[in-house]
Amino acid sequence: MKTKILFLSCLTLMFFSCSDFLSYDETSSYTEDQVFSVYSRSTQMANNIYAYMRSDFGSVGNAMRAAGCDEAEYVWSSSSVQNFNNGSWSQINTVDDVWASNYKGIRAANLFLEKGVGQTFDDNKYQSSYDKAMLKYNNLQYEVRFLRAYFYFELLKRYGGVPLVTKVLTEDEANTVTRDTYDNVSQFIVNECDTAAKYLPKFYDVSYDLETGRATRMVALALKARVLLYGASKLHNNPVVTQKWVDAARAAKALIDSASVYKINTFVSYDKIPNNIALPELIYARREANSGTFESLNYPIGFVGGNSGTCPTQNLVDAYEVKKTGNVLDGTAFDWSNPALTANPYANRDPRLALTVVLNNTTWADNQVVQTWEGGISGLPKSGATKTGYYLKKYVDKTISFQPSGTTATRHVWVVFRYAEVLLNYAEAMNEAFSSPTYKDATFTLSAVEAINLVRKRSGVSLIAIPTTINTADFRTKVRNERMVELAFEDHRFWDIRRWMIGPQTVAIKRTKILKDPTTGVFTYSTYTTTDRIWDDKMYYYPIPLAEIYKNRNLTQNPGWE
């Protein structure tokens, strides 16, 4: 019996002495305390919020958002970007659904502002670098506030007014929040930008360890200018309050006035804009990892590794002006009824065309000639060939190689804000605010015409200046065209169409048919238009995903999507 008792006690002992055995765990993650009490981790929490900023290197089903408007067409019918155009977009079948991902950025920002701000890291106090470290750390909260404002802007331009969340929510709170108005969210962004601009440094110099790439004062100002411009536009400014245009102009002017201080007023060649963190006019860019994915998605079919992708439309190509003779550009629009022009449609055009679009019979990556003519290596009827006659050049790095001997990857940098946009924002706002392209006063020392001409004169482009005789309506057309051309494939056109409410005018897609005479090798160009894209005015706003509305019955759907 004694043995039995001994044996049983042993068993019991084994079970309890092994409680460590049952709590064995291989975790390598941290708890909240371990994160915010340590300088490096707390900083990492803030740094991580930058990664929630999005670029558009094919963000909608591998296509650029441009393929959801008249700027481009995506080759592959399977891409979700087609849902913007084919009528299958719905609150169930959502496209470019960034609702939750932006709130992730917002939560991360709120978390840092609640838990990270005010940490003093006393353990580090006696390190010689403590003061500098704390300078950098205390700046993070303003970077984070800018980023949060930016995420709200991403939501605002899609969905209109959204729930304005400025603290870390509980699950119950998240399921019951209500939407704020467009104006409230817009005002919140403006206020946050004002605060951030007040504290953020102009430059990340040695006192910030040269950590460029962080939000600066002018980034906050640029966001403010854009938000105010959007708010003054027709979609959000009805009935028209002219003061909104004045405010938008003033916000842009604030940047223009200090442009020389910020060193952003130097224009370089247009092809230097993409993928370049050293671009002088750059205000802010989303920095991406080394990659060749975008090239794989956009090299023409028939190129090694090329799959075709976002193809510029004839609508865009037509927007580039023509020069008449010599070196002077006269600024006329391309005319397809003029046989002299159509015989050689890409000659004598605004130089930005050839830097944005891959044209037929030009040499491109791998020194290969692009054959977009019918029967050419990259032309119809080949599967995957462009249906517009063009391939994308802007942002596509032609040095990327997919040869089996070794694929390469390069740095990709997505322009979020640059000076040319600020000038165009200003030009548009001034024209609308004062109904005059030439209006100037003590505050607004630059007229709309002068502002747009700064862009048109940019290095290597040198288009003829827009005359001061132009009227408001014509100037409006000009500035819209200038935006389409200058800011092509920088994710502006898609939103401009919405805020200007010109959706119905953008559904007819022009294409070029290129034929090559097999004996003479002469190309003939003709255009045709397809009108199978569908527009509905509800599309000025995105639908809130139906699932979100069911999870939170306090959310209301945008008109037309119910």
């Binding site: 044996f7 409680s19 709590s23 909240e32 009528g87 998240a174 979100e548």
Partner: protein
């Protein structure tokens, strides 16, 4: 006649008998096993006097002093036990009805006594299969065990097991134990296995605590037996052929179909002009307009396997041994494996298994068991794994490029950049070597000296596995050829070929594929006694289990304590109770121990007075059980913690310095717990006319606390990755019926049996979130119910489209699938999906039938197995979803496609585009997946013993056997078990010989 008395015992017995003044007399008898063979070493004892005990001799004969009319027990060396009433001469047949049934956790009871729902597969049934993977020998064998083969690469671990259908929303796989420890069955060869028992109800599963909810497959290896050494040699050779080699269109048909598809898509310029079409048809310019049947170039029509096996089995009272040495080799179906002479890229597999099981009685009260298995395998494959090769084989059209051009370069093109033949022949090879060790050691001490019936057992097991990869890889260059026709269309102009890539030098590399270690320790104290009317088997167990896999979060630690009691009354009423505590490191410390009770009982009606004398009924027993079983499944480690970890990378400074961020990880699950399964089972066991066995079961299971995501219930405004929560509930119920009829009439033996199981699950809750219509909901339907659009034909013409509800899935044209508007809102969108068919994971109905006829050694044996209430989603690229993304087209699709002239086709019109209307889950593609397969069928001859008596051979059998000879199903052109892009399923024709010495 040699009769071995235990003399001392006899003296005791005599004294006892005399004291009781009973006139004792010698009675005699013979003990036979189920095959009529004498049982050597069976113990015959009086129930009245425990000291009267004799052992049978080699002829199975015994003599004993037991009064006629008194009960005596006969216990065979393999623990089968039968009680008979003594007659003057007793011929006692001990068949399966009397053997012990494993119930897991070292417990076993006879069929008369057990209260658990189990089914057992015996070695001889497993050996009716020639599968080189023991898993594949179990189709239709165990009542309640669903076994499905999911691809044709036989030696891979590719059998899907389910016990009683789908009880949970995820991870429905049962636990497989080999000799009591969790080990992969695929490491064993069939020849090592004695029995496989399927544990199905709470009576036995509750004792597995956190591991038992999906059922347990209990594999027991063979042990030594008392008697003369038996040496057995066997050899099996298989001629293997692929089943269902899909047929794809030839180059001309492919080109025509692309043109037709383009036209359907509104593109009027054909991709292939008349000259090119003619060239495909004539084959005049194979470098530019080839016609390659890739299927035939990649796969050959025969493969083979060889299995050699030697086993030695025997023993005495002191030592019993079983050892097996098995050598298995298998060659695959790849055709172009010897183009590069330096190496072979064939799928090749070879395995050597050596097992030794020892059973040593080193004192009268101490028994020790050692079981050792060492297994080495080597497998060879092309430089690519199978899936990209098969994908290329399916998706490369005949018109794509030649295998090799006339200049000797591999063919290739812009659109199809991989050459299926070159992938096998010119990309090197990979070779894996794996080593497995299973070792366990058990000591069993009889502690009768402390108190009668007490014993203790302790064991440890250590298992270890590792596989290493060696690979030699290289790249190949290919030629892209293009040309145009002259105006006359009879010769080529501007033919051009571009070389892409290079033939690289081989690069040699080696790596660790996987490794794991598993340590188990087990201790038990057991008290087993039988009084006159009461029997008791009770005790306590402790189980310690540590598994260490390769990498982070692969270590699982578990401990378990079991208390159990099995009580029998009058050999008629049995009651089992057990209580189990099980701890795991997968759950939150403090909340990681589960308590699992179970109670079960059985009533042997056939022993009641009113049935006792009915001769036809040998056994009639009713069982009922209820209990709670758990499952410590978690979708990832540390779900209960709010953790912060590595976030995304961002780049600061002008040097683009990369900085890794840190982020809040998924929200913590509050109150994380384990899945609970309440299992109720009612069963009936019967044996009639000493020939017909019947088992019937009905069960109801309720699974609660299943881990599901809260995504369906948490707003995106939260901005965090939703947590998991234990909110899922599933009900599962079903029935099982097994019948077996076994009779010998003179020289004629026959055996006919059948099994039928039906299991239906219902999702009660899975946090689905709000869904507008009931018909759209997963909740309320079976687990994994397929949901999709209901097709009502194809659009005839534009008028038909205009007259029908607007289909918003994509722009539709004539020939596209027309769907039913389920909610009558005039448009077809996501809200018009309904339940289609069943699920495609596990059939609700699983059945089998077996037949064995034998006359004077010549016999035939067949096993059919089938499923029902099972669906397939035929979405295989090229085969069923052709042409889009430059894939191929099968002749089956081409012949059955919609055209204006064939409006009642099986499949929609051709298109080159990814069409969201046609190619989604809808009833055109959801098909009935039921089948009946002839799993094994053999004709054998066992040489008569008389003939062999003069030789040194004691037994000999030869056979021819077919495996998977046919399938009756509705899919016809693809295999219902595996219909995607995969290595083909195979059938085999086997010949074998089996000789014993």
């Amino acid at each position: 006649m040699k009769i071995r008395y235990y003399l001392i015992l006899l003296i005791f017995a005599l004294t006892f008998c005399l004291q009781n003044s009973v006139i004792a007399q010698n009675i005699s008898g013979k003990v036979l096993d189920m095959n009529g063979k004498p049982v050597f070493g069976a113990i015959v004892s009086s129930q009245h006097n425990q000291f009267i005990k004799v052992e049978t001799d080699e002829q199975g004969k015994f003599e004993i002093l037991v009064p006629i009319g008194e009960k005596m027990d006969i216990t065979t060396p393999d623990k089968a036990k039968r009680t008979v009433v003594a007659k003057q001469y007793n011929e006692v047949k001990i068949d399966r009805l009397y053997s012990l049934i494993e119930e897991g956790n070292t417990l076993s009871h006879s069929k008369f006594e057990t209260t658990a729902a189990t089914s057992t597969i015996y070695s001889e049934d497993i050996m009716k299969s020639s599968a080189i993977n023991a898993q594949n020998a179990l189709y239709g064998r165990g009542l309640g065990l669903t076994a499905l083969q999911n691809d044709g690469m036989e030696y891979d671990n590719n059998t899907d097991f389910n016990i009683r259908g789908l009880g949970s929303l995820q991870g429905n796989n049962p636990m497989v134990l080999v000799d009591g420890y969790e080990r992969p069955l695929s490491s064993l060869v069939k020849e090592e296995i004695e029995t496989i028992t399927v544990l199905k109800d709470a009576a036995s599963l509750a004792m597995y605590g956190l591991r038992g909810s999906n059922g347990v497959i209990l594999v027991t290896t063979k042990q030594g037996i008392i008697g003369k050494t038996q040496i057995e040699f066997s050899y099996d050779h298989a001629f293997i052929k692929p089943l269902h080699k899909p047929q794809f269109a030839d180059a001309y048909t492919y080109a025509k179909s692309v043109n037709e598809a383009l036209l359907n898509d509104g593109i009027t310029t054909p991709r292939y002009n008349a000259n090119q079409l003619a060239a495909f048809q004539s084959g005049k310019f194979p470098d530019y307009y080839p016609n390659v049947n890739w299927m035939d170039q990649v796969l050959k029509d025969n493969a083979s396997s060889n299995v050699y096996n030697i086993s030695i089995r025997g023993g005495s009272n002191k030592v019993r041994y079983f050892t097996v040495m098995n050598l298995t080799g298998n060659d695959g179906l790849m055709k172009p494996t010897n183009i590069v002479p330096a190496y072979s890229s064939q799928f090749k597999y070879s395995r050597l298994n050596i097992r030794t099981n020892l059973d040593i009685q080193f004192t009268p009260t101490t028994n020790m068991k050692v079981k050792l298995l060492g297994s080495l395998t080597e497998s060879n494959r092309p430089g690519n794994v199978i899936s990209p090769i098969m994908t290329a084989m399916y998706n490369t059209p005949a018109a794509a490029f030649p295998i090799k051009t006339s200049t000797g370069e591999w063919g290739g093109s812009d659109t199809w950049t991989v050459n299926p033949v070159a992938m096998i022949a010119a990309q090197g090879y990979g070779k894996s070597d794996s080593r497995t060790l299973f070792a366990d050691w058990t000591i069993n001490q009889d502690l009768s000296i402390i108190t009668k019936g007490l014993s203790a057992q302790a064991s440890i097991a250590f298992d270890n596995y590792a596989d290493y990869w060696e690979s030699m890889s290289q790249t190949y260059r290919y030629s892209k050829n293009s040309s145009q026709f002259n105006t006359a269309g009879d010769s080529l102009v501007n033919p051009a070929s571009t070389i892409v890539g290079s033939n690289s030098n081989p690069v040699y590399s080696s790596s660790l594929g996987n490794q794991w270690q598993h340590f188990n320790a087990f201790a038990k104290i057991d008290y087993t006694r039988t009084w006159s009317d009461v029997s008791l088997n009770s005790g306590l167990m402790f189980f310690h289990d540590q598994y260490v896999g390769n990498g982070q979060f692969t270590t699982t630690n578990r401990q378990r304590i079991n208390g159990y009691a099995h009580v029998g009354l009058f050999e008629k009423y049995f009651l089992d109770v057990s209580l189990t505590g099980n701890g795991t490191n997968k759950l939150q410390p403090g909340h990681n121990i589960g308590i699992f009770p179970a109670v079960s009982s059985a009533w042997v009606l056939s022993k009641e007075d009113f049935l006792k004398n009915v001769k036809a009924i040998d056994l009639l027993k009713l069982r009922v059980s209820y209990g709670v079983v758990g499952n410590d499944y978690t979708s990832s480690a540390d779900l209960y913690k709010q953790t912060y970890g590595s976030g995304s990378t961002y780049y600061f400074t002008d040097n683009y310095t990369s900085v890794t961020g840190m982020t809040e990880l998924g929200l913590a699950t509050s109150g994380l717990t384990y899945e609970k399964s309440q299992k109720t089972n009612i069963g009936l066991d019967g044996r009639f006319w000493d020939a017909l066995d019947l088992t019937a079961e009905a069960y109801y299971e309720k699974r609660t606390d299943i881990l599901v995501s809260t995504t369906g219930a948490l707003s995106g405004v939260m901005g965090a990755t939703p947590s998991m929560s234990n909110d899922g509930i599933v009900e599962n119920k079903g029935i099982e019926i097994g019948l077996n009829f076994n009779q010998t009439i003179g020289d004629f033996k026959y055996n006919v049996g059948g099994q039928f199981t039906y299991a239906r699950s219902t999702v009660i809750n899975e946090n689905e979130g709000f869904v507008q219509y009931d018909y759209l909901k997963q909740t309320g339907k079976p687990v994994n119910q397929i949901i999709g659009y209901e097709a009502i034909g194809f659009f005839k013409d534009q008028a038909d489209i205009s007259a029908s509800p607007a289909q918003l899935l994509s722009t539709v044209v004539p020939g596209d699938i027309k769907f039913k508007d389920q909610n009558n809102d005039g448009k077809i969108n996501e809200l018009d999906k309904v339940a289609l068919g069943y699920n495609n994971i596990c059939p609700e109905i699983y059945f089998s039938a077996n037949l064995n006829l034998e006359y004077k050694g010549l016999g035939i044996d067949a096993n059919f197995q089938g499923v029902g209430n099972y669906s397939a989603v035929l979405n295989t690229a090229s085969m069923f979803w052709p042409l889009q993304n430059n894939t191929n087209i099968s002749t089956y699709y081409y012949d059955n496609r919609w055209t204006p002239n064939n409006p009642n086709a099986l499949f929609p019109r051709l298109t080159t585009l990814q069409n969201n209307n046609n190619f989604n889950t809808n009833s055109v593609w959801v098909k009935d997946r039921s089948y009946i397969k002839l799993r094994t069928c053999e004709i054998y001859y066992k040489f008569p013993e008389k003939l062999l008596a003069k030789t040194f051979i004691s037994k000999a059998k030869i056979y021819v056997r077919g495996m998977n000879l046919f399938s009756i199903d509705n899919l016809k052109i693809v295999d219902p078990e595996s219909y995607g892009i995969a290595y083909p399923m195979t059938a085999s024709f086997n010949m074998g010989v089996n000789v014993g010495f």
